[in-house]
Amino acid sequence: MTDATSRADSASSSDSSDSSLSRVKNSQYDFGGPWQPSDLEIARRAARKSRNRKNAAIAAVSSFVVLGTLLVIAVTSPGWKSLSDTFFNWAYGVEVLPKILLGFLTNVSLTLIAGTCVAIFGLTIALIRTSKAAALTPFRLLATVYVDVFRGIPMLLVILLVGFGIPALQLKGVTNNVLILGTTAVIITYTAYVAEVIRSGILSVHPSQRAAARSLGLSYFQSLRFVILPQAFRRVTPPLLNDLVALIKDTGLVSILGVTDAIRAAQINTSRSFNYTPYVMAAIVFLLITIPLTRYTDRALRRSIERQNSQGQA
């Protein structure tokens, strides 16, 4: 900043008014000279700067007033003392944190396993639903029914039905492990969501792209793999990241089957001490993962919008 100003200063002082005049006279198309902002532009910049400063001041004052008021209301409320003792007992929070983190490892590994399976199955179902091959007709039908049913049932119910229903069948060779059953239920539900997101992405690629690919001699699957899917995935990356954030949180639901995840670990410690700080700690642990992911999703979304806009101009 200071550099630029000093350069502009030195340029204006060395450039006498005479020489700049003669340049104008010699050629009206001489763009060679060093550019200096005109007085008008300098005034505009100053005005912009002062406006920005004013806006920043307004934002600071209003934030201070609003947040401060909320804080004062909370702290001066009659129950504040007992609330902060039972929910924000940081010493106890730090004490239970290792157990919660250990539980959170379950959430993370569950997310990774379920996420991978969901990606594979979701893509498969999306491809079946968008294909037109006659041989796939029964599968298309099944896929549609599957998506309709499992998008329509609350995930908690699916977890309960799978977690308690399948062991009740007493099938040989089928596991009773609640962790595996819970993960299966999560996969079943999320596959239905993700399949629809991917399908919408595939359908959003203009048919002329497929026509161009086919007219080059690419087969149906080659067109899909090299032309349609890469474009579809770019468009659905933001919503898929959204689903990933939701998946991380929803893995907590398998705790109702008795899986010791972060939520369950917090619950155990809470019922032992009648102090709710472990819940708050669990919430913080989730936020540590989900907030960066949400920020990243936001950025991905913004980039994809920019990309589409630039394509629109072409």
């Binding site: 792209q209 026509a211 161009a212 007219s215 890469p230 072409a314």
Partner: protein
């Protein structure tokens, strides 16, 4: 005399109840260009899409090098490998660079080695003055440049026949010329082509035969000079007059 590269016999095509093409019969000998003119909706694009088997015809026959390609047994992919097509809206793949767009089909369809395919693509780009754009994405190019890349992409598979569907219709007048020059070069090199166009001057220069299409029928055909300068039918005269008047605006 060898068989024409392309032959259509009484081709008929309708969408639902709407008749789009009726009784279309043409022969396109090797190294010649056949140009279709006619108002929007006259069936020009549909005809080209039928030749490339992007649309299924209702009746008649289409032959490529004497072999019927509209038979049920034909593998459409193998036919399309021999026919290049360029669209009005370019249809470059936006997620690939210019070079990747061009080498996709040679590598994936014709199993050409990547090095060989890329070298050929660069040669083509160089010939059409676009070598410096090889690693750009299509949305960085002007419309005319995009359309020339689309032409190069369709040439990269060594097609027997090139279909050009109103390739200048979405370009501004300055860019039209650079694309048309490219097509003139191809014609001079002996490429067999079928074109749909609104550029009458260009049609006169490049065509060996011009067909006037109206409501899905070929109303008048002949060598370009006769047909464009001295049309016999009233419909053709009306159409050419309207095109001329629009050009003078």
């Amino acid at each position: 005399m060898s068989a024409p590269v392309l032959e259509l016999k009484q081709v008929r095509k309708s969408f639902d109840s709407e008749l789009v093409l009726e009784d279309i019969s043409i022969k396109v000998p090797e190294h010649t260009a056949t140009v279709f003119i006619g108002a929007s909706g006259s069936g020009k694009s549909t005809l080209l899409r039928c030749i490339n088997l992007l649309e299924q015809i209702d009746d008649g026959e289409i032959k490529l090098d004497g072999t019927e390609i509209t038979s049920v047994e034909t593998d459409p992919d193998s036919v399309r490998r021999k026919i290049g097509m360029v669209f009005q809206s370019f249809n470059l793949f936006p997620h690939m660079t210019v070079l990747q767009n061009i080498v996709l089909a040679p590598i994936r369809v014709q199993q050409v080695e990547r090095d060989v395919a890329e070298q050929k693509a660069r040669d083509l780009l160089k010939r059409f003055g676009l070598l410096d754009k090889a690693n750009q994405y299509p949305d960085r190019l002007s419309g005319g440049q995009q359309q020339r890349v689309a032409i190069i992409r369709s040439l990269a598979v060594n097609p027997r026949l090139l279909l050009l569907d109103e390739i200048t219709s979405s370009l501004d007048p300055v860019l039209v010329n650079e694309v048309l020059n490219t097509v003139r070069d191809l014609k001079a090199e002996g490429m067999t082509m079928v074109l749909a166009t609104h550029e009458m001057g260009f049609a006169k220069q490049v065509a060996d035969e011009v067909c006037f299409l109206k409501d899905g029928r070929i109303l008048e055909w002949g060598n370009p000079k006769n047909l464009l300068d001295n049309p016999q039918r009233k419909e053709t005269q009306d159409f050419l007059r309207q095109v001329n008047e629009a050009g003078r605006l």
